[in-house]
Amino acid sequence: MRLWDPRIEEMPKEDLQKMQYRLLKSLVYRLYSFSSFYHDRMKEQNVHPDDIQELSDVRKLPFMFKRDLRDNYPDRIFTAPQEDLVRYHVSSGTTGKPTVVGYTQNDLNYWSESLARGLTSIGLGRGDIIQVSYGYGLFTGGLGMHYGAERIGATVLPTSVGNTERQIELMQDLGATAIACTPSYLLHIGEVAEKMGVSIKKDTNLRAGILGAEPWTEKMRLRIEDWLGIKAYDIYGTSELSGPMFTDCAEQKGVHIWSDLALVEIIDPKTEEPLEPGEKGELTITMLQKEALPMIRYRIGDITSLEEGICSCGRTHPRIQRIQGRVDDMLIIRGINVFPSQIEHALMGIPEVGQHFQIIVERKGALDDMLVRVEVAKEAFSDKINDLMQIRSNVEHKLRNSLNVNVNVELVEPGSLPRFEGKSKKVIDKRSM
């Protein structure tokens, strides 16, 4: 099956926008009338539902931030009564106090539908065996992907995270054709498999990875595809949107954001002005059909750009490009903005070092000092100190060129940098300790 919901997925853009306008208008009326939180916010902004006369009037509405959920912990801004909720998820709280999201049956349904479209678009369906190696539980990844995969009639292998050797055995024994997990966990699986004498490429049926929940790069995609012999697809989402929700299609030219579910804006994080398609800025999403926790102009904090053109797969819905970093992950080193993703990107072009790295930022005297620790690849190890020194200065040189800031590099033993089974924490900023 090529399309899960052809009527929606190939709907002409004008029709989609009309649909978005209708959905936005009724959402705003509903929230203004029935939620004190949204009502007060709109009053403060001096905007009334009647002011929404066309789609671009969304810009008149106030922004929402993660702190709105934290400040109203656990469920004070939910717009559905508890008895209508069928599930809670709780975010990990890596950037502060945890946040709770609630779902009605319709919310879960749209979430699964969204994933069903995405999974179909990468060629998965009935007959496929999808290993879900996202964590099951409070985290949205495991259960979200689970129901999405069941929706398309695939067989789910719900391995969750951890016990990697067993995951690899089951992948082989049951013939999993796709795996959903974080890219760093897939790299870990690849490494453990090699130690077990298993080649993912030759000894398994795996042909697709649905990878997300942490930033990764195009180069990492190519590396994963080449090494493991699979197609690696990006998946995007946050718990506030529902969870992992939107994916690449088979064209791998960006993540399709379904217009009937979400209205996307890219804004300049400083001026809050809208940016043109193609310009890099902060992703801002309005969820058009959520019942329990609608998000209006939610400032996710991810940096990306929007592609409005019709995709070569035929789908008319806009695509976001790979996440370039986070507004709040941005490190400022000697006044220069540095994203960990830039470092990852630069390292991927240097085969002498592995794909893992750790950034340590310290203040030495008055100056910021950035140390990047990398592992020497097995193939690159030379008995000669000079060759190793050369690798180090080469890495320092390339990082300096791409970041415009001085970087010290430390070569460490392979396997010695921490591997993360969930979201990677690759930065140790000692300045803030």
Binding site: V376, K378, F381, S382, D383, K384, I385, L388, M389, E410, L411, V412, E413, P414, G415, S416
Partner: protein, 144 residues
């Protein structure tokens, strides 16, 4: 001349320069009952390379790789020196006169007397020149 029998397989191990790394390597080799006949450490800022001649290089390599160490084989040669003043000079002069560069070297004094382990840029040439000059090269069977 069969030069192959004089080529000795040294194992080289990448190591971070922090406490306990040499102990970890030595412990691993001890566990496998591998004897270290000669070794040296080269260090640079933050990391080093441990080089060793052992009686079972393959076994040592496999064990260290299994433990996650970055390990490689390097070809070296071993020359017997006179264990008295001028002994090192005689060997070094042969190579210097022949335009062969010594990348690194280390020595030990064992039951064969004083022995100089050499990593040179032109292994075959070095073996021929040393042989022709009358000095004694140790065969790899002495080690492995």
């Amino acid at each position: 001349m069969d030069t192959k029998k004089f080529v000795i397989r040294q194992i080289s191990i990448f190591s971070e320069n922090r406490p306990g790394r040499l102990a970890a390597i030595a412990h691993a080799l001890g566990e496998e009952n591998i004897n270290i006949l000669a070794f040296s450490i080269a260090e640079a800022n933050g990391f080093g390379v441990v080089r060793a001649l052992v009686d079972h290089p393959e076994k040592a390599h496999d064990k260290l790789v299994k433990l996650g160490f970055n390990t490689a084989f390097t070809d070296v040669i071993a020359v017997k020196m006179r264990d008295q003043p001028g002994g090192l000079y005689e060997v070094a002069k042969i190579l210097g006169d022949s335009g062969i560069n010594i990348e690194y070297s280390y020595a030990y004094s064992g039951k064969e007397g004083a022995v100089l382990i050499l990593r040179v840029d032109l292994v075959e040439d070095a073996i021929k020149k040393i042989k022709n000059s009358g000095a004694t090269l140790l065969e790899n069977s002495v080690f492995h």
